[in-house]
Amino acid sequence: MNDVRPAGATSQFEIHVLEKTYVGSDGTLVPAIRDLVLEVQPQSMTVLMGPSGCGKTTLLRIVAGLDDRFTGELRVPENARIGVVFQEPRLLPWRTVRQNIELVADEYFSSADLDRLAASVGIADMLPRFPQELSLGLARRVALARAFATRPDLLLLDEPFVSLDERTADRLRHLLLEVWSSQPTTAILVTHNPREAILLADQLVLLAPRPTHVVAAVPIEIPQGDRDSAAVEAIYADLLTRYPANFATG
């Protein structure tokens, strides 16, 4: 069916999903993705933006290797390490925060590295605690730290800031940018929030409603560090006129 071919570790990721369907609750086949081609540049932040239910998460699961029931081709570097930040934190409740991170961390990831990473996402005090003692915002930070601790070749983030209040979400977005800039990683982030997409993306990929495919891949040239809210609004206004269908509802 599909073909996962190794590419060199420095080369870009290529994702080509010819067709992905799933069986709906009434037994009929629902097409989720059709003829989607996506190239991801190394050490860049690709943001996938599309309407709710368009198949973004399905696509991310395919890229993560969690779902191989599709036709198409996935070109990923050999033995690529993948870090995933799911929509829910998905921490092990019976392991402390430190153990949760250590469990998946890269083998050369030292305890000092862990302390440094924890400090950079603001969870240094939380390391000996159990996840149930944390607020959602803190648990999200732990999930983020866990993903970075694997030193991933590819970092996948599935709406990592959803259902947080706007202030917390915004703080976490900047935190993500900080950690990501200090440890440049090829990343794919999924969101339906246009301002979040504009703030984070090197390449902003607009997706069509189901069955989804790429409508446009828009590069954003201004470095993330220089995008204040005025810059974000300017880009937003520009994109709104160019892709009204994708931005009007945001």
């Binding site: 799911f86 019976w94 998946v104 149930q132 003692e133 996948l156």
Partner: protein, 244 residues
């Protein structure tokens, strides 16, 4: 609180025995004297030991077999459908039928006794662990797969901790069921153990001895519950007892 309620029970027993003044209801002091005497000079400790060994052996056998089948049934709907009728039969088959048939077919021996007890417990373990397997969190499973955890690491860190409450529930109900059935098995076909002694003293109409063995047995049971089961449970669920 536990101490007060036990003391209250002893008091009621004492008063009842004083009022009845009957051979069929000896007081706590008399029973305690019998227990100490039998422990020091008689067979009480040996008989308790034999019973305890049968309990442990059937418990281990039943939990091992029951867990494996239960987990397999929880994860494979086809296997679940195939084995379900047999599970229902076993669940509802009277313990006595299994015990008698085991003795008739396999002889009055230790293996038949332990096998019969285990077979009575296995369906309960299956049902509980099947629920456990069905309740495994698919989100955590995905997390383990995405992060490429080794099968061993996944079992130890992701799967077993989720099954722990189900193991605990199966163990707890299993121990109590096995305690009860082991005595019946001993009564019917073993020449030793607490069940045999109870039967013997029933024929001799020695109520002091019957109560004495019961008290000794209950003491062992409580010791296992409070010194082994509960501390273990507290340790494995400590992550859960924290305030959010």
């Amino acid at each position: 609180m536990s101490v007060i309620s036990v003391a209250g029970f002893l008091l009621v027993w004492l008063i009842a025995a004083e009022v009845a003044q009957s051979r069929v209801l000896p007081g706590p002091a008399e029973v305690l004297r019998y227990v100490v005497d039998e422990a020091l000079h008689g067979d009480l400790l040996a008989e308790l030991g034999i019973t305890l060994w049968r309990v442990v052996a059937s418990f281990v056998v039943a939990m091992a077999i029951g867990s494996v089948i239960g987990l397999a049934m929880g994860q494979s709907p086809a296997l679940d459908r195939a084995l379900d009728p047999w599970l229902i039969v076993l669940l509802n088959l009277p313990a006595l039928v299994i015990i008698i048939l085991a003795y008739v077919w396999f002889g009055l021996n230790e293996a038949a006794a332990i096998g019969a007890v285990a077979l009575n417990k296995i369906p309960n373990a299956i049902v509980t662990l099947r629920e456990g397997a069905r309740a495994l969190d698919p989100g955590l499973d995905e997390m383990a797969r995405a992060y490429r955890l080794s099968p061993w690491s996944k079992l130890r860190n992701v799967t077993l901790p989720q099954l722990q409450p189900y193991f605990a529930a199966a163990s707890r109900s299993g121990i109590s069921l096995i305690w009860k059935i082991v005595l019946v098995v001993e009564l019917l076909g073993r020449p030793n153990g607490v069940g045999f002694e109870l039967h013997l003293n029933f024929q001799l109409f020695n109520v002091t001895a019957i109560l004495g063995y019961t008290v000794a047995f209950v003491t062992v049971m409580l010791a296992i519950e409070y010194l082994l089961v509960q501390p273990l449970e507290r340790r494995t669920t400590r992550w859960r007892n924290k305030p959010v």
